[in-house]
Symmetry: C2
Subunit: 365 residues, 2 copies
């Protein structure tokens, strides 16, 4: 296993599910936990999510190989400062926040390249330890956001943990991640709430609510999510959210103009385009394909890992596994990447060759 | 039963489901059908939705007591003109269009008070006869939109048919209906499409699509609906849609301002308000309550029925049943309404008393 001891700081829905998932996948693993809310910590212990409950963040992380900071996204920096005194020299740290640029910057300022940002693409409109589920991440993508500072050990260890939880690690730069989630998650969230408000602003509220068919139910389901959590997420990603919100308002503005000008064929074409895109999204829930291993010798210096994973992220190639074996000759290491699908592997090979790497490929070892 | 013979003009998802639902609830009923698309008509016959397939709208409606016009909403008027030559003197006609003001105006211009507008609040992103389902309307609301012209026979007969399909008839004025569905259905539909377009407008499309978690899936599900059908619906309700779209854009604008001004507490309050409203919507899926019958003597003149059902609609009272027995003395009739819930019944009694009616109430007969 990737670790003997994992610490989970924050035992809410995500932290609790991580702890339970790890306990279920690796029964010998020690999982230490802390939460500022006593009741949540007790519930985590009661449900068998933790082997040990700690009395402070610093105590929780003592002796841990991997620390998962699973607090609300606007409190990750603060949590990193709190746990730092207990952190062992070899420990690596990750978080699960829904926005990454600010969090990663802040956490790396505290603890350097041993921090790698993470964001599991799974959740629920429910929250808290009581909603935790060891299979929450099964089949989900789990974004990791290495930067030029990130150590390869941190990336590899966190990536192994993610795999053990049944999720697929995907490397993206923090900024790319933030732009994408603003569009695919944060702005849809705000829009669901705005739709509820728009629909409900009526004297005839009950009749209106009765008219709400399955479509409205689906569109607004996420509006029932935790307001405090979401205000924190939006705060942590506000530049990207404002940008995406501006794009959405522009889209709605041009739809409004089509209607005002009674351009029904153009309206139909707009709906048809969106329909095709929507079908495309969920016809391709993952990239799939046979696993292909790529090997290359890399200089043993900071930034190499980020260069490689960023190239992969830009191509949309899914890094299923990543390992670095440091050469005994010093100064160089052998990097192994596993990519899903031969087409993707070829594209990534081309990109890496252009960056000056000599890439070999074959079946994963 | 309310009829011996029903004609369904247009055997798509809704018309096909109406036909199948009626056949299943009343096996002795004759259900005649027509569709401009031969394949749809054949499929309807093959699935046992129809007892007879006709070669024209006028032929389909010959001898029918109730005619259900289940064509796209922008073609209801045309369809009414086509079927008129075959319509018997006592036949009543309804439609299933998602917008009502224009449709009702046009249809009543063709055939007067025997037409009562209808809109079942059930559907699917699938379409066509192949997706038809006899239980599609089970437990759903079915809006009926009587006007001052509507005959009480037409309302009562269509309302009985709706009940037989397992749906609950609700009376609203065409304009109220249109305002409400614009907000609860038409604008959410356009918004789902706009969100897909906003999210997908990216070089990094596949990665983005992979990031789409359950929330995005829910919010955009209806964007996969039939573009031609929806362009027609929006066209038929464009004034109300533009108004609701303006309200949504204003909501999104004020959310954007909260973010720009970093007013995180206000943003949380906004999300909290929407959350409460959302939970409220689906905590009250129907009005429920024991059935209460109201009786009153009414003058036998046009407009009385609309006056009563409009009063009920304004209060959000659900008319579960409505019957008029014409007095042999002439000039007056006895109206019976069944309302769900004693509170609603009392409110409606008060409203009707103010309108000058003498209302008695008790258990339904």
């Amino acid at each position: 296993v990737f670790a003997e001891r994992v610490a989970v700081v924050g035992t809410g829905l995500i932290g609790g599910s991580v702890a339970m998932g790890l306990r279920s996948a690796a029964p010998n693993l020690r999982v230490t936990g802390f939460d500022h809310d006593d009741a949540a910590l007790k519930e985590a212990t009661r449900r068998g999510a933790l082997t040990d409950a700690a009395t402070s963040p610093a105590h929780a992380v003592e002796g841990a190989d991997v620390v998962v900071v699973a607090v609300p996204v606007d409190r990750v920096g603060e949590s990193c400062r709190e746990l730092l005194p207990g952190l062992g020299d070899d420990a690596v740290v990750t978080d699960v926040g829904s926005a990454k640029s600010r969090v990663v910057e802040e956490a790396q300022a505290v603890m350097g390249g041993r921090f790698v940002g993470g964001h599991p693409m799974a959740g629920s409109e429910r929250h808290g330890m009581s909603a935790a589920d060891p299979r929450l991440f099964d089949g989900a993508w789990w974004i990791l956001t290495p930067t030029s500072q990130t150590s390869s050990t941190a990336y590899a260890r966190v990536s192994s943990m993610v795999g053990l939880l049944g999720a697929t690690p995907i490397a993206l730069s923090p900024q790319t991640h933030d732009d994408l989630v603003a569009r695919v998650s944060h702005v849809p969230q705000l829009t669901a709430s705005a739709l509820v408000e728009m629909a409900g602003a009526s004297a005839d509220r009950e009749t209106l609510l009765g008219l709400a068919a399955a479509g409205f139910r689906d569109v607004t389901r996420i509006a029932a999510s935790h307001p405090g959590l979401w205000a924190g997420i939006i705060k942590s990603n506000h530049e990207a959210v404002l940008d995406a919100l501006g794009r959405l308002r522009a889209e709605l503005g041009s739809v409004g103009r089509l209607i005002e000008e009674q351009r029904w064929d153009d309206l139909e074409a707009f709906l048809e385009g969106a329909r095709r895109a929507r079908l495309e999204v969920f016809a391709k829930p993952d990239f799939g394909g046979e696993p292909i291993a790529l090997w290359m010798m890399v200089p043993d210096r900071p930034g190499v890992l980020a260069e490689v994973t960023t190239a992969a992220g830009r191509l949309g190639a899914n890094i299923e596994d990543l390992r670095i074996v440091h050469s005994t000759e010093g100064g160089r290491g052998r990097l192994e990447l596993v990519i899903a699908g031969a087409d993707r592997a070829q594209e990534l090979t081309d990109a890496l060759t252009e960056l000056g790497y000599l890439v070999e490929w074959g079946s994963p070892e």
